[in-house]
Symmetry: C2
Subunit: 474 residues, 2 copies
């Protein structure tokens, strides 16, 4: 039928979500899915579980695996890129160097960009991979092939690719589900909401929030007046004091990861983070991030064990949870697998429904990252924005953003965030290390030239940054 490539398919949870979504759409039951990863062992786990799932769901998806990027993309109509160059280990290594030089949470944690795996300064290999994948889509993909970007930094990546490579491309994120979380906490029925969010990835704001046709912000205000939210886990921050403080200043509610992407006011140190994000200090504190890392580690281990179990016991049924529940010692993965095997539930990842809209001309609503081209007033046309859009076989049709984003969101939040994106991309595209240095000279944690030179040198001297080092030394 057509070929889909998943780049970074060793990320098994993400891949299984995508594959499970494919099995649940009638028209897609025999799509060819090429799983690509450089980690063969993780790739193999994904492959085993994917086949099992396919078989049990009665789908006829065809899987291939490869460690070769070109081979994966060759002839693909859709390429989903979820790969992180260097993985989480690289991020932690670089964060550690940053902290050694006086940058709490690492040099890539910046004003309005504090999400702990959203690196823009030291992430040369990731930006390089973004472009490499995009160029391969241009050269090797099917005519009018689509690149669906899932890996961070989505904002920088989408802007970089769409400015430089003439392909169909869209960036996806989960951030807008914060609207559902918000509704849930304040007790509103999602089905009665008329909402819009707009901004840039990890910097989106609730510009429209109607409940049953009436101003839903009144319900938010009332809730805020009567409640103080205690987070259930570090990422549970949609109604944290930080979110509410941002809402009060900017005049619109920050949604999803935007709450994490605030100024240093909420992030000076762990104590400050706890004050604003609750007892865990939010997702991007040493506590919250450790929790997240442990989860990832456990999930990966659980998946490997499960894949192993399945290959040793080929008659087991994934759809019969009781037969292998002993392996599910991880609560989050348990929820995950239950969702994956539920034939009536989609994963929430937008990729497969998006492909469904494009291929089968089913008009559906998404929140997409695409170049602005006038969608948000006051933002340059060639900057990737995150906005709601309707998609069908003729492509992506952005909604009119109405009402507008507040002046403060545009002028005081999005513009400085966009400037940092521009600096990161200029450094990368021109190979000028001075722009990265300038970014750090404007960092409130910087106290001297030596600090800037020192931290960048140490990061560039990591063995995995040989290409970055050479590139910036030209």
């Amino acid at each position: 039928m057509f070929k889909v490539a998943i780049v970074g398919a060793g990320s098994a949870v993400f891949s299984l979500r995508i594959i499970s979504d494919f099995t649940k759409i009638l028209e897609f039951k025999d799509v060819e899915i090429c799983l690509m990863d450089i980690d063969e062992s993780r790739l193999n786990s994904t492959y085993i579980l994917a086949n099992k799932l396919n078989e049990e769901m009665g789908a006829k998806l065809k899987f291939k695996t490869t460690t070769n990027l070109e081979e994966a993309i060759d002839g693909a109509r859709f390429v989903i890129n979820t790969a992180m160059a260097g993985g989480h280990d690289y991020l932690e290594k670089v964060r550690k160097i940053g902290e050694k030089w006086g940058y709490y949470r690492g040099i890539d944690s910046q004003e309005f960009n504090m999400v702990s795996d959203y690196y823009t300064i030291s992430n040369f290999n990731q930006l390089d991979l973004f472009l490499k994948v995009a160029r391969l889509v241009e050269e090797k993909g099917e005519k009018d092939a689509w690149l669906l970007q899932a890996a961070n930094p989505v904002f920088e990546g989408t802007t970089l690719i769409l400015r430089n490579v003439p392909i169909n491309m869209v960036g996806f994120c989960h951030g807008h589900y914060g609207v559902h979380r918000l509704a849930e906490v304040i007790g509103l029925d999602i089905s009665k909401l008329d909402w819009q969010v707009a901004g840039v990835n990890h910097g989106i704001w609730l510009n429209r929030f109607l409940y049953d046709g009436k101003d839903g912000y009144k319900v938010i205000d009332e809730w805020i007046g009567n409640n103080v939210y205690e987070p259930k886990h570090p990422f549970d921050d949609q109604l944290s004091l930080a979110a509410i403080d941002m809402y009060k200043f900017y005049g619109q509610m920050p949604i999803g990861d935007t709450v994490r992407n605030s100024s240093w006011k909420y992030n000076y140190d762990l104590e400050t983070k706890k004050k604003w994000y609750g007892k865990f200090g939010g997702a991007d504190s040493q506590i919250g991030w450790k929790w997240y890392q442990n989860n990832i580690k456990e999930i990966t281990e659980t998946i490997n064990k499960l894949a192993n179990f399945v290959s040793m016991n080929p008659n087991i049924k994934l759809l019969d949870y009781n037969t292998y529940k002993d392996y599910m010692n991880n609560e989050i993965f348990k929820e995950e697998i239950e969702s994956i095997i539920n034939p009536k539930k989609f994963s929430g990842e937008q990729h497969v429904p998006f492909i469904d809209s494009i291929v089968n001309n089913k008009k559906q609503r998404f929140v997409v990252n695409i170049l602005n081209n006038g969608a948000i007033e006051g933002i340059d046309n060639d900057v990737a924005v995150e906005i709601p859009a309707w998609v069908d076989s003729s492509g992506i049709h952005p909604e009119q953003i109405m009402p507008k984003l507040s002046e403060r969101v545009i002028k005081y939040y999005l513009k400085p965030r966009i400037m940092r994106m521009e600096m990161a991309l200029e450094a990368f595209t021109k190979g000028d290390i001075n722009v990265l240095k300038e970014l750090l000279f404007r960092d409130p944690r910087t106290r001297s030239e030596e600090q800037v030179e020192g931290v960048l040198n140490e990061i560039m001297n990591l063995p995995e940054n040989a290409k970055m080092r050479e590139y910036y030394k030209r």
Copy 2:
């Protein structure tokens, strides 16, 4: 003929420059000049010397003095505003409070706005005075009266007034003379230069620099390759290492006060300042600013003594320097007075030549602060920019900015500077203290909420800030 009001005329050197310029333009010999200041003693000194100068220069200027602002502006065709609400004492008092709370050089010293008497955060009374003067010009001035703004902050002031009061208004500064200083140091004849500067006040850049029709930047580059400049005084920074470093990053030369308005990279502390600005640490170090303050003090004292001497000895000739040179123990004032009494030399202040162009339709070139209205691409129309313009009786005609400002100047320097202007003006026009707080939360010297609350409270509790306090507490 017509009436000119000088608001803040107790600033004797500035007033004498203006008056002396009037005496040197044939058509202006009988203009009526109303000197206004709230400091009667300083006003009187100006008045005595003004009359003496007028008489000796053979002019027939008519002087009046008043401490009443409305009276000064009533019927004026041109109002020159050089008044600083609270004077230098206020600035130093506020700086001291800032330093007590951990803000080296005070809270108003901000990235790209480090000039030590250019307050935007704590300067409520000055912004308030700007508007008051502008509204009086609208109500009481002659039809089509002009307001010529000389007092800082010119950028915020010009933008504020031109956005809110429908009058003719222009802001003036000396910064562009940095081009002459640059030419002098690197050995170029000013008369052979074809130059342009553009940007915002105290943030202007040498976008055009042709010498004898050829690229003058080559001469700059050669000079830089062979010289390291040692400043003769703290303000002598046009070829400081800071200026050169900025030039290398931004791709165009910062001109005049722009060199002082850099990032914290050059300003972390005195040691850093000395490294980049030479032995005095630049104008805005504790050394440089002390030097400037001492100069102001000495000049003021010298002027008062001279005025006293003149009133006791009415037959003395100001034009005969020998008769009172003993009073001129201040080297800078000596130069100043020599320039003032030189019948062939204009002061360099643009105000009187500008009035000459408007009234007498003499087409001349100025560097003016006016709303952008498309002059600089990428900058909003309603932001005051500083650009070269030709002026005649039909008004101000901006030059086309060619070549353009560099992308880095626009994106990484002007835009963040403009954002801070917008924040200062929004706080002021809406009476929202939270915007000033947000400015400080983004300040690299801020480490806690308590620090922000503490420093603002202490400043607002100064007796002279009663109006500010009430305004922000509404």
